[in-house]
Amino acid sequence: MTLPVAGQEAATPATLEKISDVVIRFAGDSGDGMQLTGSQFTNTSALLGNDLSTLPDFPAEIRAPTGTLAGVSGFQVRIADHDIHTPGDVPDVLIAMNPAALKANIADLKEGGVVIANTDEFNVRNFKKAGIETDPLEDGSLAGFRVYKADFTTMTRRTLEDTDLDTRSKDRCKNLFALGMVYWLFSRSIDTTVEWLKVKFKRKPEIAAANIKVLKAGWNFCDITQLFQVRYEVEKATLEPGVYRNIHGNSALAIGLVAASRRSGLPIFLGAYPITPASDVLHELASYKEFGVTTFQAEDEIAAVCASIGASYGGALGVTCSSGPGIALKAEAMNLALMVELPLVVCDIQRGGPSTGLPTKTEQSDLLQVMFGRNGDSPVPVLSASTPADCFDVAMEAVRIATTYMVPVVLLSDGYIANGSEPWRIPEVESLPDLRVQFHEDAENFQPYARNEETLGRPWALPGTPGLEHRVGGLEKEEGSGNISYDPDNHELMTHLRSDKVKRVAREIPDLEVHGSPDGGKLLILGWGSTLGAITGAVNDLREQGHDVSRAHMRYLNPFPSNVGEVLSRFETVLMPEMNLGQLSLLLRAEYLKDIKSYTKVQGKPFAKSELVAKALEHLG
């Protein structure tokens, strides 16, 4: 294919350079298909065997005015030939589809990093929309970077000259031109994306053909023009042997729930109301009907959780899934589940800020809400997932605790891991925990609020079972009989039983594990949830530099593992980074009277490894 060359002379063939690690950020308008472009690059790299980590970043508006800063959507992916834990602090390569995308992201780019810009969009009209005075590609402001220019839009239109598509449809293919260029630059084949396009547009073959043509054109453009003097190669990473797939947190959560359903024999009932960033769990489970999954898009968050409780009452695995604002609405019903002592899994995919806050950004600030945001003394077990793949394991564990202890369990994830992805070593089905449950069927001396001596859980007695007719409800119950009781001593007893039941979970959960110096030392960085990657990266770097730093990560936030107090006492300083104003450190301080140093960040984005390294060094003196 011969393609016009815009302003560049054909040069000497590019040299091939091996690199171990690269961070690429695709940025454009929210209608430019940046999430798709980034995901395709990710999938191709995953199949090549790279380790990877992704960070999508998009606005809450579906289509903010084009060309504006508000509408910029980004997708960051880091690929490596070794084990990595984060999507990278700073991008090495920025693909800027327009001036706003450049302006919004250039401050993050690594010094000397690569900018690939779509010159077609760099015009006065767009400068105005982005609030730029002069052309950044020409005014010298990008002097510290290596800038590569190409007119993506013009070349996309020319590539599709002989097709019947209208201009609008042609222009929508331009992200594939950019993707083709990036595939060439990082020496990857376009085959995976070609196959994906064929499936994706099975019913619109002309669209599939156009996209494939443009993808090839982008690749060929680089090959022919030698726009880049260097071409890079990132070899496959050495991962533990096994079969892998790339997985997002919300997918892992949904699959984990299906796995829990299969291993427990309980059909899943998911009651949900659409909310960012949790809706994908609903979408995904809705597509697994062949596994007996019932999904119910309720009229509101309250109906969603109440229907799930009704399903649990009937013997299904009741699950509800939401984010902070929705969890606030579910509080009363969660207490109902706690009072009637039925299993329920409440997934909170946390997002930024109070009220509507930052819907598409990440934060860990619902911990105190799920711990305490209900009337009365109403403790529930709280678990947190720390990586996209970890959502799978935590989902199964949440189901185990809910059905063993007959209690609502909160599972905390967040926008970062929900939308982020990583390679996941697929487990063998036989290795998954056995979650079978026993329904109560014996009518002799049946007491709905009798308790299992070990777990303090009450019997799960299903409607339809002859002889077990009984009533449950939110009014205080008499221990044993379950009749309404206003007796003062009974209320005190029941309040303690509900609390002790949750405390008993600590008897069988694993100890908090210390990585680094298990016997103690100068500094422990303690985290929970999605800070795991950044903390691991920071601690590895610091230890390589010879610093006495260790790390530990908490999956169980209520109850705490039994050894936490003892672990804290082994370290001179405990530093706790959190994407909130210090919520877990508050709980740990209260529980263990340890002067934990809280390090907080609430910018709607995850910690950078470098931030943690710098903060740790302050404490290391």
Binding site: F269, T294, A298, Y313, A333, L336, P463, G464, T465
Partner: protein, 339 residues
């Protein structure tokens, strides 16, 4: 243990050992009695019944029924019952609610349950007042109602529960009265047999906070004058010696006097199964004293039942993807092997 013998069931089998704690003279007693008398006649074993309620006086109902029972939270009984029925279609689920529970705090769940046509039997005890919180006006209270929270009279226009239900596309809409026992039982039986959501408004007297709210139809004298018993296929005739009828006039429904030998051809013959809810809506609007109070089944139509369709989709997919295994799910999408 085997299923309970259904034929032997009596009213007593449905009475729980809990002391009934409504105020003496409350209309709820009569409704409880009618329900306990009706359920044994339905041919279902006792363990198949579940009574789900919200919050309020009426919602204490499950505790007095010796069936499975779930006293949930304020306004949410339809949602709890929907989740239960979707996963356990084998159960006969009755929802007990009140005017505040269903039409104020639970208004959203109420309308969505009806539009979905979930297979639930719903009894709304309408006493036009908040009883359990000691006498505030409710969403069915008449304008100008003086209560503790409205010392100068309430300003809110009331809901007509039948109209609300009809507006949602409900497939079974009926009304009865707490103390009209034979009528109430017959309506309950009709509701039990309906496949989708069966909604019954039960006019219920709160003798403490809103006594005689429905005296216009329940007093002995008023009963014969103002109760219009709506029956499928029969003309809308009511009053002493059936001397009055309802016909459609130029400005809507109107009352016609029917002296002996009068021509009754203009009187509306009720059709409960007509697809459009318009006629039922018009009838539901009638109220005393200008008009009679319609009682009975105003609407009963067939429409696909929600949980049956939900389960149908699942079965269809299970059938189409028989080889679906957890292993295949875990390994779905693009995978690669590291050795």
């Amino acid at each position: 243990m085997t299923a309970t013998e259904t034929l032997e069931l009596t009213k007593k089998d449905f009475q729980s050992d809990q002391e009934v704690r409504w105020c003496p003279g409350c209309g709820d007693y009569a409704i409880l009695s009618a329900v306990q008398a009706t359920l044994p006649e339905l041919g279902l074993p006792k363990e198949k019944f579940v009574v789900v309620s919200g919050i309020g006086c009426s919602s204490r109902f499950p505790y007095y029924m010796n069936t499975y029972g779930f006293h949930s939270i304020h306004g949410r009984a339809p949602a709890v019952a929907t989740g239960l029925k979707m996963t356990r279609p084998d159960l006969q689920v009755w929802v007990v609610t009140g005017d505040g529970d269903a039409l104020s705090i639970g208004g959203n769940h109420f309308i969505h349950m009806l539009r979905r046509n979930v297979g639930l039997k719903v009894m709304l005890f309408n006493n036009r007042i908040y009883g359990l919180t000691k006498g505030q006006y409710s969403p069915t209270s008449e304008i100008g109602k003086r209560t503790k929270s409205t010392p100068l009279g309430s300003l809110d226009a009331p809901f007509n529960p039948l109209s609300v239900a009809l507006g949602t596309g409900a497939t079974f809409v009926a009304r009865s009265v707490d103390i009209f026992q034979p009528h109430l039982k017959s309506v309950l039986k009709r509701a039990a047999a309906h496949e989708g959501t069966a909604f019954i408004e039960i006019l219920q007297n709160c003798n403490i906070f809103n006594d005689k709210a429905f005296s216009g139809v329940t007093d002995k004298a008023a009963r014969s004058e103002n109760a219009l018993y709506v029956e499928d296929g029969k003309p809308l005739i009511y009053g002493k010696e059936n001397r009055r009828g309802i016909r459609r006039g130029p400005a809507g429904l109107e009352v016609v006097e029917l002296p002996e030998g009068a021509d009754e051809s203009e009187i509306i013959v009720w059709d409960e199964a007509v697809r459009s809810p318009s006629a039922a809506f018009e009838l539901a609007q009638l109220q005393a004293p200008e008009f009679p109070v319609p009682l009975g089944v105003l609407r009963a139509v067939d429409r696909p039942v929600y949980e049956q369709q939900v389960i149908g989709q699942i079965r269809e997919r299970e059938e189409a993807k028989k080889d679906a295994s957890l292993e295949s799910l875990l390994n779905s999408g693009d995978t690669w092997e590291v050795s």
